[in-house]
Symmetry: C3
Subunit: 356 residues, 3 copies
Amino acid sequence: MLSNSKGLRLDPNRLLRESGGRVDREGLQPLVGQSILHPRQFNRRSVIAMAQLAALLETSNVEIDKPLDGKIAITAFFEASTRTRLSFESAMLRLDGKILSVPDGQVTGIAKGESLADIGEMFNTYGDVVIIRHPDTDSLERIGRNLQRPLINAGNGSGHHPSQALIDWYALLKWRPELCRPDCPEDRRVHIGIIGTPGSMRAVKSFLRLSLMFTGAVSKITVISELADPVGLELTEPIEESPIPIVIVNDVQKVLPELDVVYVNSIAFLGDDYRKMDSRYKLQRSSDLKPGSAIMHPLARNDELSVDLDESDHNLYFAQAAGAVYIRQALLTTVLDRLHKVVLLDRQELIGRIES
Amino acid sequence: MLSNSKGLRLDPNRLLRESGGRVDREGLQPLVGQSILHPRQFNRRSVIAMAQLAALLETSNVEIDKPLDGKIAITAFFEASTRTRLSFESAMLRLDGKILSVPDGQVTGIAKGESLADIGEMFNTYGDVVIIRHPDTDSLERIGRNLQRPLINAGNGSGHHPSQALIDWYALLKWRPELCRPDCPEDRRVHIGIIGTPGSMRAVKSFLRLSLMFTGAVSKITVISELADPVGLELTEPIEESPIPIVIVNDVQKVLPELDVVYVNSIAFLGDDYRKMDSRYKLQRSSDLKPGSAIMHPLARNDELSVDLDESDHNLYFAQAAGAVYIRQALLTTVLDRLHKVVLLDRQELIGRIES
Amino acid sequence: MLSNSKGLRLDPNRLLRESGGRVDREGLQPLVGQSILHPRQFNRRSVIAMAQLAALLETSNVEIDKPLDGKIAITAFFEASTRTRLSFESAMLRLDGKILSVPDGQVTGIAKGESLADIGEMFNTYGDVVIIRHPDTDSLERIGRNLQRPLINAGNGSGHHPSQALIDWYALLKWRPELCRPDCPEDRRVHIGIIGTPGSMRAVKSFLRLSLMFTGAVSKITVISELADPVGLELTEPIEESPIPIVIVNDVQKVLPELDVVYVNSIAFLGDDYRKMDSRYKLQRSSDLKPGSAIMHPLARNDELSVDLDESDHNLYFAQAAGAVYIRQALLTTVLDRLHKVVLLDRQELIGRIES
């Protein structure tokens, strides 16, 4: 299989070995047939199980098994995002599913400006799962009013982007499989730094939400922002409930040498507006990064992440992006209730594969 | 099978039972391999046969038979219509056909502004059937100049929209299967009211055209419009030839309690312009609708049809929309000469299905 | 198989007969798994071999063999071109490949304005081959920086359009199969006239580049342009190396009666701008064309080529366009290393087909 061209390369077999070559299907059961709207639907167990399934799919020649045969996904993008749309569409096609594509619902005037509720009603007979991106945070509630098919949130305004957070953790778990353990050895635990405002940036908000679940693996989370309260109301409770310590600082340079993982993003969603990261937060080869530390970015990037880091071993972001299609394959297989179609591979082929 | 979320739910088996479990294939023969441009290509028999085939497809698991395997449809939408485009594309994909999609020919500048005749020539080797929507009424003639493949009119300016009219009658025939009979019992006949101007609104024009064929089933047609001559020149002859009485009124409220079926639309095409329905024609829960009457709408809707009717039993429009994919499956199977691929299902499975 | 509606109709079997019913697979080997960026990657042998493979595919029912099963092509069009995009997509679908479509990367803002290098990195895990059109000549170099998949140039600014040139020569070789021979009989050799500026028009530049390889088949090339140096720097060396005489003239009318092949195009690329052909160069029925001569055009056309020629036997341009899907099938089968999937057809079926 092809992977990323530069930076760290991640072996999905390492993650599978950590779990003894097993995919924890039971951990995925609560998500079967469900809409995936919010990271709170996941727990540590299901995040790891989803990563295991993605790793299985990444190492297998699944085309032969056609796990999504006969299934149609509608990609309804009311906000253009070639990267996310194509990655979901590639995931469907690779598993022999099919696609109805709405690349830019805002521009092409989806059905003459009809309501999202009516659009959801329309989709009932057109496809088997709907993947939506929309600039409005309440879009999920609106389209869900009549929709009877599973809905996957691919970004709702300043809300959430749960599949992106799964991609992020898939990369971390492949990079350092011991993070799967609730008793990760202390020297393998990670101090995660998040540059940005989780309160208004959906990708980092979802990533932070999942990270709080990894007790005993994440030693500390540092949010780096110039805002007084970058975290926002929604995360107050999850933060209080998690034993992982969180601190907020505003000086990147000072904290950088302590971070094992640096998560950076380019765009802040503030209501319907977008704001780019301040240039003071820019990461580059000359930045004072901890040896062995990993930089993550949901991409696309702007100036906040210099290309001069691409060739370095701090570049986890290319490998992170390279896992996107596999996590979305795992998610679609679960949501469309086709987990049984990968069982055969699991039993017969996997053990041999792992041992070889 | 999933159907509509709210309003009346229609059982396709009721329609099949009305025909003794048989699809009238002979009735479809004149349409095999043909372009579908105008409702005059249909007669009562072929409308019913198409509805029977759609009902068969709606009740069958046709994916297994792959009736459109190896066939490519080109959806050439020179006027954006997500609803119609996706419904044709879903119909192709469900039957294992394939799609070449031109979601917005007007915006993306199809092939640097070349003529429709040259585009038709191009399509000869690209696909097996072309589905076109275009703002110009004469677009069919222009693209047809060199095109050697069947062409399906999905709306040509103020012209026609024949597949929409088939969808409309599919809903009516599932709703009240006795309408198939030339001697429908008098108390099951329907008085149809059409709010709008059939002369300039393609969807209602095509619907009216088909309705005139249902002698002995449609007792009366009332057109409700503020225009002096809402019906237009093209329909003069079909109206004179049909024994069904037609009247034109301009007061919605007065006639509403007498109507069994109320057909409403949101948009009028006047040349290249669009005009919305006057707000006086708005239907809502408090409207004086006849008990048991059905409201139809080709969708998308605007203010003329209130969402407070969605939960009521007057809502036939959601079920009507839910039939769109099946009628388009039936139409494509006929036009692409693949009727024989559903024979097996018909013989072996249908009778058992109907009786159970 | 359907072909063009008007003008010359070409029989691919004539080309296959010229090669004794054989496809020269060895001639295609250097292109297997390669990116196709520039016509210099071809030589006379591989051009002919590609045309033979296209002819085999044109005469075969290849759907059954599914040569591109499981393969995904990404069509990344940063400059809209419905004709070229759909033709590549149709080629993929006909051979049971799949498509990820970016119909208009410029308009929909591919991934929020990220760099072509990052887009190339993204494509590594999304598809198996990338087909790009871009207004910038250096776009191939930029997207290729991280891309590890074969890249097909479908037009890069004023650069090249190699698959178009293959289409052009496929038409010529079907039209006059003796042009395959290095010792083509003198009275079957062709004097090719090119109306336009090969230096800045990518389609004619690529066509001229391939034409220079056909020593002993092309007797002379005449470039007709109002510019002092229409040929440009890049072609200087290939012209000097080829024994085929080239002349440059500016009077169309004078040279027209001597030309066996007239190649015309509508659009000149000058940097990022476009310039239409001068109306003096217009071809029409009343033009003084040599009897038996053929007009070629990569299409779409503007006023430079009158529709009154469509019905005439000078019209090779419709047959030329009708070959596009087959050449692109041949190219994709080669690039995606699936030549072995058409072997069976070749051996068992071809000889019988040719002889019958």
